[in-house]
């Protein structure tokens, strides 16, 4: 274990301590209402974390910020509505089909529009993803209309009681998916040859290609994975949030914030960032006028960045001279 990892772990404990203090303070002050805020915060935070992981996957293999990540999530929710609620497919089949369709879309877009630009600057590619986001949103509006749609919960709507607070069963699905996703993404990037190669390709494409790692494959895999993650997230959260054609912008913004807060390119960072952002938002919404909750969340985010410019679990970018 090198010093970077040790510093990361120290920070993780530090962040955990801060969260524990905030949580204990809220609980002792508001008890069951406070617990309700925290549970809602964790649910919302898991949603942010799932979207954030999509950002992280593409960033850690290509250094691109994909502004269409939120749209993949939106598509996941809308496709679940079409396949399961309208089409009457069984849940598991609808879920798999949704993920498959969006993955193919993500991979196709990478081949058509991102791959030809492989020698261009990152900002050019970012503008292309903005174009994609506008395109997907407008197409979704054309297909599904402007009214939000309701997707049925996976296992009923009867809230579970938990120390005086309540939680919908769908939240447990969201927690579960977040846990599975973070473990899988972490293992993929740290334990598999392909995943490690993809990180290498992002660090130094020329050196990576000299040892036989293809930056082109790396980018394709990253986009497919991010699209799959986004779709899965959208499918699972659709019963909690209403699914609508314009949900992607907001999800993308919060997901990006969570990814940066946790440290871009780190899957555990995405989860820590997402959960922190969600809980902070719900607690500030409890104490302050609700209109200001996003402002407070962003203010905290900026302050964290000023203290730690590379995010909570991110590594500082090395400067080449």
């Amino acid at each position: 274990m090198n010093t970077g990892d040790r510093a990361q772990i120290r920070l993780l404990w530090g962040a955990a301590a801060v969260v524990v203090v905030v949580v204990v303070f809220t609980l002792s002050f508001k008890q069951s209402t406070g617990l309700q805020w925290i549970l809602s915060g964790l649910t919302v935070g898991s949603i942010y974390a799932l979207v954030a992981m999509g950002f992280s996957v593409i960033y850690s293999s290509t250094r691109v910020i994909n502004f269409a990540q939120g749209e993949f999530t939106m598509l996941g929710g809308m496709l679940m509505f079409t396949l399961c609620t309208r089409g009457g497919l069984p849940l598991w089949l609808g879920f798999l089909l949704t993920v498959a369709i969006v993955t193919v879309l993500g991979a196709g877009f990478e081949r058509l529009a991102i791959h030809p630009l492989k020698d261009q600057s990152v900002i050019t590619i970012i503008i292309v993803t903005i174009g994609l986001a506008i395109f997907i949103r407008a197409t979704a509006k054309w297909i599904w209309g402007t009214d939000p749609v309701k997707v049925a919960s996976f296992t009923g709507d009867k809230p579970l009681r938990f120390f005086g607070a309540s939680i919908v069963p769908q939240s447990l699905w969201v927690f579960g998916l977040t846990l599975v996703a973070v473990v899988m993404v972490f293992l993929f990037f740290n334990r598999t040859l392909l995943g490690k190669g993809m990180r290498a390709a992002a660090d130094n494409p020329d050196a990576a290609s000299l040892v036989g790692i293809s930056a082109s494959t790396s980018s394709l895999v990253a986009w497919s994975l991010a699209a799959a993650l986004g779709a899965a997230a959208g499918a699972v959260i659709a019963p909690i949030n209403f699914a609508a054609y314009d949900a992607g912008a907001m999800l993308g913004l919060k997901g990006f914030s969570a990814a940066v807060l946790g440290g871009l390119g780190s899957a555990p960072g995405a989860v820590v960032g997402g959960l922190m952002l969600g809980v902070l938002e719900m607690i500030t919404a409890g104490f302050a006028p609700s209109g200001y909750k996003d402002a407070v969340a962003f203010l905290i985010l900026i302050l964290v960045l000023l203290v730690r410019p590379q995010g909570l679990l991110g590594r500082p970018e090395e400067v080449k001279v």
């Binding site: 502004f67 292309v128 506008i134 912008a249 871009l264 996003d294 995010g311």
Partner: protein
């Protein structure tokens, strides 16, 4: 700026020449628009040109920041909004307040706030800077919505008086058109002179390598903040003009999507190219109206296609992708290369003519 075979001074001379051509074009455009009235094209050219001029104020400054200093901002709609709200509040609350002073106050306040937030935030780099500026933009938007006593909340501020300077009232589209574009040309002139000055060289050094620039004695952090303040003030100026032109503002005009539109204009036009900002603005301001008017240009179109406005954003997104795929360095770069090519070719032809003449003797 590796213009092949260009001679020193060529770029400056070409810039001034282009600016003169642009100014002449601006002058005759309204007359030209008279010949092709709006109800033939289904586009109100003068009206859209005013909006383009207002956006150009913002984008010229943003291009300095992004294209020359290499610092990204995804929050310039905030400064645009600060400029708009400053003059709107001053001129509607204090009826004696001169509107031209309101515009100056808007630009000044936007610059001052730019300095306040720029100083800490510009220590961040790359995507983290993008995130921080995005957050600032969102905070500003929320404040515009929530400070109801000051900004009128989601309803906004109505009945903003028209701009008047020295008794001259800019109360029609055409008058405002000339005012806005005179301002834009002045800002362009300022920019051209700035980038060929010591500051401009420092900025370009900063863009290519911050470490190297530091080592050569360029005060990088001060330059970054200065350019940020300048671009914030330009954006505030644009916002103040926007308020007086629309006569009505609400927070919807200053959402994050607007910040992203500004950055998109910079990149589509061509980063680090002063004409890029102008081209990007004109292209992306006209594009939605052209797409909307498109079906009406073709007579006898089936009614399903006549209702084309439904597909407007689909086409817009698609065109944005295609532009970046085929002109990844921006439209201005493509045009610049074409101009270079024709210049080199002309020189080549002249040389060949001379050689032939010599052979003849």
């Amino acid at each position: 700026m590796d213009r092949q075979l260009a001679r020193p001074g060529d770029a400056d001379r070409r810039n001034y020449r282009t600016l003169a051509i642009v100014a002449a074009f601006i002058l005759i455009l309204p007359a030209w628009a008279k010949f092709i009235p709006g109800d033939v094209l289904h586009i109100d050219i003068v009206n859209i040109m005013v909006l383009a001029g207002i956006y150009a104020c913002v984008v010229v400054g943003l291009n300095l920041l992004v294209g020359y200093a290499g610092q990204i901002s995804l929050g310039h709609a905030a400064f645009f909004g600060i400029g708009a709200y400053t003059t709107a509040i001053l001129c509607t609350r204090l009826h004696w307040f001169p509107t031209w002073l309101g515009v100056i106050a808007g630009a000044a306040l936007a610059g001052a706030i730019g300095w306040l937030v720029g100083k800490p935030v510009l220590r961040l780099k790359g995507h983290y800077l993008a995130m921080a500026t995005l957050g600032l933009g969102e905070i500003a938007f929320i404040l515009f919505q929530q400070l109801k006593g000051l900004t009128g909340g989601t309803v906004g501020i109505m009945d903003i008086p028209p701009l008047s300077i020295l008794g001259l009232k800019f109360d029609s589209d055409l008058k405002f058109y000339f005012l806005v574009w005179v301002i834009v040309i002045a800002l362009m002139l300022l920019t051209i002179n700035l980038i060929r000055s010591r500051v401009g060289r420092g900025l370009r050094a900063l863009h290519s390598s911050e470490v190297a620039a530091d080592a050569m004695g360029v005060n990088t952090s001060r330059y970054k903040v200065q350019v940020f303040v300048l671009s914030a003030a330009f954006a505030g100026l644009g916002g103040a003009l926007f308020a007086h032109f629309q006569k009505y503002i609400n927070p919807e005009s200053f959402v994050i999507a607007v910040s992203i539109m500004f950055i998109t204009m910079v990149v589509v036009g061509g980063m680090g190219n002063i004409w890029g900002a102008l081209i990007g603005v004109l292209l992306l301001t006209f594009l939605p109206s052209v797409i909307q008017a498109l079906p009406q240009w073709i007579p006898g179109l089936p009614s399903a296609l006549q209702n084309f406005s439904n597909y407007e954003l689909i086409l817009y997104g698609l065109l944005l992708i295609l532009f970046m795929m085929f002109l990844p360095k921006g439209v201005a770069d493509g045009l610049g290369r074409a101009a270079d090519y024709s210049e080199v070719r002309a020189r080549h032809l002249r040389d060949r003519r001379r050689a032939k003449k010599l052979e003849g003797h």
